[in-house]
């Protein structure tokens, strides 16, 4: 097994009196899909936002490629090669696909936007992901379907030669065919050697694409298991009770502080 690309060590995070994350440890391997599961309010999205630099962490260490790093904002994360695809997409409706993919990191030539260069790069990226559903890269995002938007959001993350992509419920609002597209895309990301973290509530999705399942329970990491070693039922128990047989948190009482 290769070295993890991203390691979290003892991450803690509170919002005022609410202790949301307790001593979270997590390794993300390149070329693997790590599913992050947990019930509503378990802290999945908060953990992702901490990694992305949107929320500062209270304590704990983040190692990237074995080096300790300090992520203070979205830009720091992006510079390391950590990209996040958010649940609510984070695309600007009034801009087209190219403009969205380069948002915040426009390529310029002599101080002016280099539109042709950006357009070529966007097309190349979409082609490399075998995206064939978008009519034109100059289509406004407002006229895309949910699946197409999700595709654009993921392609945006790939555009930056990123090393780690975090996907926050990418299939939550999608139909069957669109979910298929997005899951294929997730698999393709891992095949390209990226470390992928997938947040999902859907066990079918998780078992289909994930190599490893990390289970959050009330802000604690209940277990990190290999997909092939567990059953649906065990994962559901881990999500709802924090333990399943030998797996999970030893005494559930300890978790209810």
């Amino acid at each position: 097994m290769s070295e993890p690309i991203l390691e979290l060590r003892g991450i803690n995070k509170s919002f005022g009196p609410v202790h949301v994350l307790h001593d979270i440890d997590l390794d993300v391997q390149p070329g693997e899909v790590t599913a992050l599961v947990g019930d509503n309010g378990a802290g999945k999205s908060t953990l992702v936002k901490c990694i992305a630099g949107i929320h500062p962490t209270d304590s704990g260490e983040v190692l990237f490629n074995g080096e300790p790093v300090h992520i203070k904002g979205p830009r720091d994360a992006a510079e390391l090669g950590i990209e996040v695809v958010y649940q609510d997409l984070a695309l600007a409706d009034n801009l087209d696909i190219v403009q969205n993919m380069f948002l915040g990191r426009e390529r310029t030539k002599g101080g002016l936007l280099d539109e042709t260069d950006m357009e070529q790069a966007a097309r190349k990226t979409l082609a490399s992901l075998s995206v064939r559903t978008v009519k034109s890269v100059r289509t406004q995002v407002s006229s895309l379907s949910g699946g197409q938007r999700q595709t654009v959001a993921i392609a945006k993350a790939v555009l930056w030669n990123s090393k780690v992509v975090l996907l926050d419920e990418p299939t939550a609002a999608l139909g069957v065919a669109q979910t298929r597209q997005v899951l294929d895309l997730v698999r393709r990301l891992a095949e390209q050697g990226l470390g992928v973290v997938l947040i999902s509530h859907n066990m079918n999705d998780v078992f289909e694409v994930a190599d490893k399942i990390a289970c959050l329970y009330l802000g604690r990491m209940a277990a990190v298991v290999s997909t092939k070693d567990v059953t649906h039922g065990q994962v559901v128990e881990l999500i709802t009770a924090g333990r399943s047989g030998d797996l999970g948190i030893a005494r559930p009482e300890a978790a209810t502080i």
């Binding site: 992305a52 949107i54 904002g73 979205p74 830009r75 992006a78 996040v84 958010y86 609510d88 997409l89 984070a90 695309l91 600007a92 409706d93 009034n94 801009l95 403009q99 969205n100 948002l103 915040g104 990191r105 426009e106 310029t108 101080g111 002016l112 936007l113 042709t116 357009e119 070529q120 097309r123 979409l126 082609a127 995206v131 064939r132 559903t133 978008v134 009519k135 034109s136 890269v137 100059r138 289509t139 407002s142 006229s143 895309l144 379907s145």
Partner: protein
């Protein structure tokens, strides 16, 4: 200077490139849009039907108004009146152009009108008192004024809005040093004071987080009071200076008029063609070359006709000669070109659209949203100051009501009538110019028809209402067409 279709149909292809493109298209599975001129036009029509109207309704309205007033009034469609129209509409148009930046973020600046009045008053005081603002304002007012400029510098520095800092600093220097009156210096002072005002407004909106409606409503009242304080109840500050007078009343000479024509049309053609052929060369989809050339040709003919007409003598009596393109035309053109350039071709402009479209997305993309929000108020107030220079020049004086009354409402109206959305994220600078022209024609035409003020107000208001309805309906249409 309409490149209406340029933005609308740039996802089309040419016949010449069709074969070269075919391979690439099947590889990518994207960008398989129309190829011929006919298809490009159909494509554009489909977008219009889908709710992307842009400034089309305003352009149609402009044509209708021109026809109606020309048929009802003998004097409307005369050279003298048309040139007058340009000079009357310029100040509202310029203020509206600044407001477009604010409206693009879904914010509003209600104080732009009275803020412009303040800049006009400061400009006039500097001129009349030969650079001695201390004497012109009185001790207390002068020190408060300088204090506010320092505050603007500090707030701008905190938020790293350097343009606001620099312009406020220039205003402070001009105010403090007391250089003798000079028309150019006074106009610079007005713009700098405008920028300082915008810096303070922007800070309160972006950093403190007060809704822009409330901040600018408060400043609307405050600046109205400041103008009154600076000028004095019932007083009027005359602007007896040829340079300032010429801004809104002067004309380019014959050579200058045609030089403007060559620069404007040549520049437009150069920019459009460079972009067009660079896209073709790189194998990206572009409009048909014939369509691009046709648009440039149409613009050149229109501009030539206007330039020719304006370079004829239009004086009402034989004793004097009035000819040439009014100075306000190159002024508005330069502002339009520079502003459009900033919005379309720089990262800053792109970020304005992004923040207006989805603030959260922009923040997550690493854009400094607060800074963008603050900066647009600086631009709006600075533009308002340029508008103030024009309207003060037109009447030759500054009175306590400068920038009050309808100035602001007409400016917002001009931007909205042109197609700028009040919901943010949608609009272009040329909207303000087209909308400004519509309003100027209504005011001028109704005046020529000897309609009472009551009717003029009611008609203007109804036109604004119509424009806002078109925006709302086209938005709904676009929303349903998208699914």
């Amino acid at each position: 200077m309409s490149s209406e279709e340029a933005s609308m149909t740039d996802t089309t292809d040419t016949h010449e490139q069709e074969t070269a493109q075919q391979g690439a298209i099947s590889d990518f599975g994207i960008d398989t849009t129309s190829q011929s001129t006919g298809e490009a036009v159909r494509d554009y029509w489909a977008r219009v039907r889908g709710g992307e109207l842009g400034s089309l309704p305003a352009l149609l309205g402009l044509v209708v108004l021109l026809i109606v007033f020309s048929s009802l009034s003998d004097t409307f469609f005369t050279l003298g009146n048309l040139a007058n129209l340009l000079q009357q509409g310029a100040s509202i148009t310029i203020i509206a152009m600044g407001l477009v930046f604010v409206l693009l973020l879904g914010e509003i600046d209600l104080s732009a009108g009275t803020a412009s009045g303040v800049t006009a008053a400061v400009m006039a005081l500097h001129l009349i008192h030969n650079g001695n603002l201390l004497g012109g304002m009185g001790d207390t007012v002068f020190y408060v004024f300088c204090g506010l400029l320092v505050l603007a510098i500090v707030l701008g520095a905190v938020m790293k809005v350097w343009a606001g800092v620099a312009l406020s600093a220039v205003a402070l220097v001009i105010a403090g040093v007391g250089i003798p009156a000079n028309a150019w210096l006074e106009m610079l002072l007005a713009v700098c004071v405008g920028a300082a005002i915008g810096t303070i407004t922007g800070f309160l909106v972006a950093k403190v987080g007060i809704p822009s409606f409330v901040v600018t409503l408060a400043f609307f009242l405050v600046w109205g009071g400041v103008v009154l304080q600076l000028i004095g109840q019932g007083g009027t500050l005359g602007l007896r200076d040829d340079t300032i007078f010429n801004v809104a009343n002067g004309n380019l000479n014959f050579v200058g008029s045609w030089a403007l024509f060559v620069i404007a049309v040549g520049g437009y053609a150069a920019i459009v063609l460079t972009r067009h052929f660079s896209r073709l060369r790189k194998g990206l989809v572009a409009q048909p070359t014939s369509l691009v050339l046709g648009k440039i040709g149409a613009l050149a003919v229109l501009a030539a006709v206007i330039t020719y007409a304006l370079s004829l003598n239009r004086a009402p009596s034989d004793l004097i000669v009035i000819e040439g393109v009014p100075y306000v035309v190159p002024l508005v053109l330069v502002l339009l070109v520079v502003g459009t350039f900033v919005l379309d071709r720089t990262s800053y402009g792109r970020h304005i659209y992004a923040v207006g479209g989805n603030k959260e997305a922009a923040r997550r993309a690493g854009i400094n949203v607060e800074r963008i929000r603050m900066s647009v108020f600086v631009i709006a107030s600075a533009a308002a100051a340029i508008g103030a220079i024009v309207y003060s020049s037109k009447v030759g004086s500054v009175d306590p009501n400068a920038g009050g009354g309808n100035t602001l409402l007409l400016s917002v109206g001009a931007a909205v009538i042109g197609g700028t959305s009040l919901f943010g994220g949608k609009g272009r600078l040329r909207d303000a110019v087209i909308g400004g022209a519509v309003l100027a024609i209504i005011q001028n035409g109704m005046g020529l028809l000897r309609q009472p003020a009551a009717v003029v107000f009611i008609v203007t208001g109804l036109v604004l209402l119509l424009a806002a309805s078109v925006d709302a309906l086209s938005r709904r249409r676009a929303a349903t067409a998208a699914r």
